[in-house]
Symmetry: C2
Subunit: 304 residues, 2 copies
């Protein structure tokens, strides 16, 4: 069972087209949903992908450009119409509040739920939030406006108990929680049963890094080293390197360079310029530096 | 050739779904485009329907609820990226300016084109604008916030000249314009040729009325009497009459009542509540009062 997936709602750039919508992703981790960016049309994409609106409590905005946040007013209105009562937290650079506050004032005066803004300092790598399942950090990026990426670091799960051994030593149920978390077991006779005889290690904790929009910036490498999946923008092909620099975006080759330097397990590229009808050029370019790059696409679900 | 069409981009209501998007239409009249409402996702629908962005110069907003205007920020950003320079006029109740001004300030500081707001008094029936092809009037509607409909009244076209008669009387080219507009022709001999011998009458001027959102309101009948096409909201079926009243919306039967009273040529209903998977109930209800009602649908092009 994939209990950690990245769901691509939109992976186009500033000009949404019939092929690629504006940026939006859902990270689904142990049945909680975390949204990354929210371009126009995100709420309808959620319906298309059968995402359950009520499991969403945190939205992370990378930067305050329209193609990353124009879906928020509609999404918030819809959450309200669906009867939401639980708090919604919107994390992002401070202008996200400047954008939404007047809109909420005009359209959502009777919200039955609270919206809390968590203003992110996009210049530093910091723990932004944690819950039972995950720690989420900011990743400083360089773009035309304050921008950050986000790093999802799954919390280590409990070890698996070995049922036969638990039965054999007649371990009481009340001890199981501690054993799963590493405790030894002491029998009635005072015999100490080492934890490793009672458990198998949990799967290693997984990490996902979301880096968009950004100019090529090797300084992010230490923050994303070895992640299981890196999403890195690749707005342009290398032939448009000049334009990439000028607009503070990356090429597919540059995205792959970052992935290679950070020795990530897998790379997914996206945020494609509307000029690319055929993405094979971008994939080929990335593959040459970092083999088997994944192309983001609307509707794609990537297990981590 | 259909030189007057209504193009349905979205005909859902407050909750956009995978079946019906938020309200938006394009009136295409003699190659100029006029937009009616602009819900979230309108710009992508324009691409799907191959609407040419540069032919759009006027947007008419019925009222400042999100499902009628949340597509504006994205559309304006896209017009800017496409290199627009011509003025864009946004007609609507005064809050449309309160919504857009802060958004434009944050996202569109370097627009290369002017946006002009034409604030509409939604309580009266007034001429809002006219150009070479059309006069557009407001229609006062009753909803939870200031709301108006829009009436498109095509200007009378010139009469058709009868080529054989023009040749026979050797009418000089410079006289043709006046003749098309009703002038008689005087030959070199002083003979007066009556206009009706030189021309066939033009097709009658056509009218389209757009009425959404509104509670059942027979007072609009005089404004829309005899129009070639009436779009009237039908958010609910008659079984939800109470809810319709409560939310200041109409039922399908009520929309048909208005059409019948106004003796319009055709009725199109839309703005369907998300609760209706199957619209045949709404159509049946309307047909019983006003036969052959058209159901609006995304992608539908209705010639007038």
């Amino acid at each position: 069972m994939a209990d950690f997936t990245v769901n691509i709602l939109g992976c186009g750039s500033a000009l949404p087209t019939t092929k690629h919508l504006s940026s939006a992703q859902i990270v689904d981790l142990r049945d909680k949903l975390y949204m990354l960016d929210c371009g126009e049309g995100t709420q309808v994409q959620m319906r298309r992908m059968r995402v359950r609106f009520n499991r969403l409590a945190h939205i992370f905005i990378s930067h305050v450009h329209g193609d990353h946040c124009f879906g928020l007013p509609g999404l918030i209105s819809t959450l309200s119409l669906l009867g939401r009562t639980g708090e919604l937290v919107i994390h992002g650079p401070k202008d996200i509040e400047s954008f939404l506050k007047p809109v909420l004032h005009l359209f959502c005066q009777n919200l039955q739920f609270d919206i809390r803004f968590n203003v992110i300092d996009t210049s530093s790598h910091e723990l932004i939030m944690e819950d039972r399942s995950v720690k989420i950090y900011s990743i400083p990026l360089i773009h035309r406006v304050p921008t950050c990426g986000y790093l999802f670091e799954e919390k280590q799960k409990d070890a698996h108990i070995i049922r036969e051994m638990i039965d054999f030593y007649q371990v009481p149920v009340r001890c199981l929680k501690d054993i799963k978390q590493g405790a030894d077991f002491v029998t009635g006779d005072g015999e100490v049963i080492a934890n490793h005889r009672l458990t198998r290690p949990a799967e290693p904790a997984r990490r996902y890094a979301y880096c968009t929009d950004t100019i090529y910036n090797p300084r992010i490498v230490p923050f994303i080293e070895g992640v299981d999946l890196l999403y890195h923008e690749a707005t342009f092909a290398e032939a448009e390197l000049k334009r990439a620099k000028l607009t503070f975006h990356s090429t597919a080759r540059q995205a792959a360079e970052i992935a290679r330097m950070a020795q990530v397990k897998r790379l997914m590229i996206g945020h494609y310029s509307a000029r690319y009808d055929d993405l094979s050029e971008l994939k080929k370019e990335a593959d040459a530096v970092f083999p088997d790059t994944i192309l983001a696409n609307e509707g794609l679900v990537v297990p981590i």
